[in-house]
């Protein structure tokens, strides 16, 4: 069972790489099979369709990012510090494993029709969104963050980070992502903090 799981993950990684660089429609199952050194039929043993694979990838990315944010949530530090840590880990992931954020921006957001059944609403990104819910709720409960609608806070935080990584991907930023962590964290904190 373990072996199958590890193999699945490897397929997900390979597919993730291809989809995020070539795009969803341009990548085929044979492409993925070739990258894995497996037969096409064997790939279908693990994932019955390209669409299913696409949805599993977004859950996979979300789980990885969610697990990292969970670690931050479980630390006994201030909301301000947690913001800094979340920004740092997001930018680190964008730097060391850009395929995840690229997939999210260029495949998940751009091809909604692929995800509409089976990834309704927040279904496939739930592990990541839940951690942000916990971060926000506790921030308000402790009086550190201003109480507001969840989406207005979420949009500010994630929209900012996603947009910034997009700019980085376009090559327009002058410095490495890591150099922006402090400034961006402060901007986010100042926008969300309790007055």
């Amino acid at each position: 069972m373990d072996k199958k799981l590890r193999k699945s993950e490897k397929i997900l990684d390979a597919a993730l790489m291809l989809f995020s660089t070539q795009g969803f429609y341009a990548t085929t199952i044979p492409d993925i099979a070739k990258a894995m050194g497996m037969s096409v039929g064997n790939i279908y043993n693990y994932f019955s369709s390209k669409e299913l694979l696409a949805k599993e990838i977004i859950k996979y990315s979300s789980d990885i990012l969610g697990a990292e944010i969970r670690k931050v949530n479980e630390e006994e530090v201030s909301a301000k510090e947690k913001i800094r840590k979340i920004v740092a880990l997001y930018f680190e992931m964008a730097t060391l494993k850009p395929q995840h954020i690229n997939y999210f921006l260029r495949v998940y957001l751009a091809n909604k029709e692929v995800f509409k059944e089976g990834c309704e609403g927040m279904l496939c990104v739930s592990s990541f969104v839940t951690e942000l819910m916990i971060f926000f709720e506790e921030g308000v409960a402790k009086g550190e963050l201003r109480n507001q609608d969840f989406f207005s806070a979420f949009g500010l935080f994630m929209g900012y980070l996603g947009g910034f990584v997009f700019l980085s991907g376009e090559g327009v930023l002058g410095k490495a992502l890591s150099a922006y962590v402090d400034e961006i964290s402060l901007n986010i904190y100042n926008a969300l903090k309790q007055q």
């Binding site: 609403g121 279904l123 926000f136 109480n147």
Partner: protein, 296 residues
Amino acid sequence: MSHKSSIIWLQGLTCNGNSHSFLNYAHMPSFAASFEMLYHPLWCGAEDFMSLLNSDVTFDFLILEGALSHDERLIQRFNLPFYEILDTLAVRAKHIICAGSCASFGGVFRLRNPEKITGALFSGKEKGGYWLEKNNVINISGCPIHPRWLVETLLALHNGEKVLLDEFLRPKEVFSYLAHHGCLRNEYFEWKVDSKQLGEREGCLFYEHGCLGPMSHANCNKILWNDVSSKTRAGSPCLGCTEFDFPRRALYETQKNMSLPQTPFGISKRAYYTLAGVAKSFKIERLEKKLIDEDN
């Protein structure tokens, strides 16, 4: 002729709601067969109060209704400081039963002066009320109590049975349930279909209307009120009246932090938000429609 247990009922600062709720007990002849009400403030009892007070006869149950205080300027009965009466009678009672949230935790009437007006053994959540400690007290919280909660507890004790109590000294048989159990709108809670307004049969009242059912310990929706209904069955949100923090502020509003409500009792945030998020991702058509299609 089997032995009857004797009761003296005493009131602190109260609205009498627990007494009147008790009067709705559906099997009153059974109650009367096992108990003798030596004294109750609202109707003629077997004994005259002053002679009871001045005797030194012991009795089985002292039922306390209402918030308590040591300050004689706040409570007096029979032109005597209340504390004198309570202290005198309490030592002569085998069991002390707090009937209602006021006697259990201080309730509504504690709000005016939380330092001086408290429950018997608790002041809100904090241990220590009128007494710091006492080992024969049972709290039957509620605003008011359901008559069955009181009578069934009394009967158990009358029959020499052991009554299991929770951390707030409330009988577990009643207070291990949540008001949420048995609510007719459970399916709407499961699928996160919120009520847009009060006055309709459809929708859950938890997210927008302040319902505290999922975190209030009571079996209202199991045994029903007045044999027929409950707050939520009549379309109104549970107000959490059995809990130590009743009444909360803004009772008809759901307290939310960044749109996220308090989670149901004993359910972790991670579990609740994940499940709620998943449920909210789907639109269940049947649950969006009227429960009863009256157009054909």
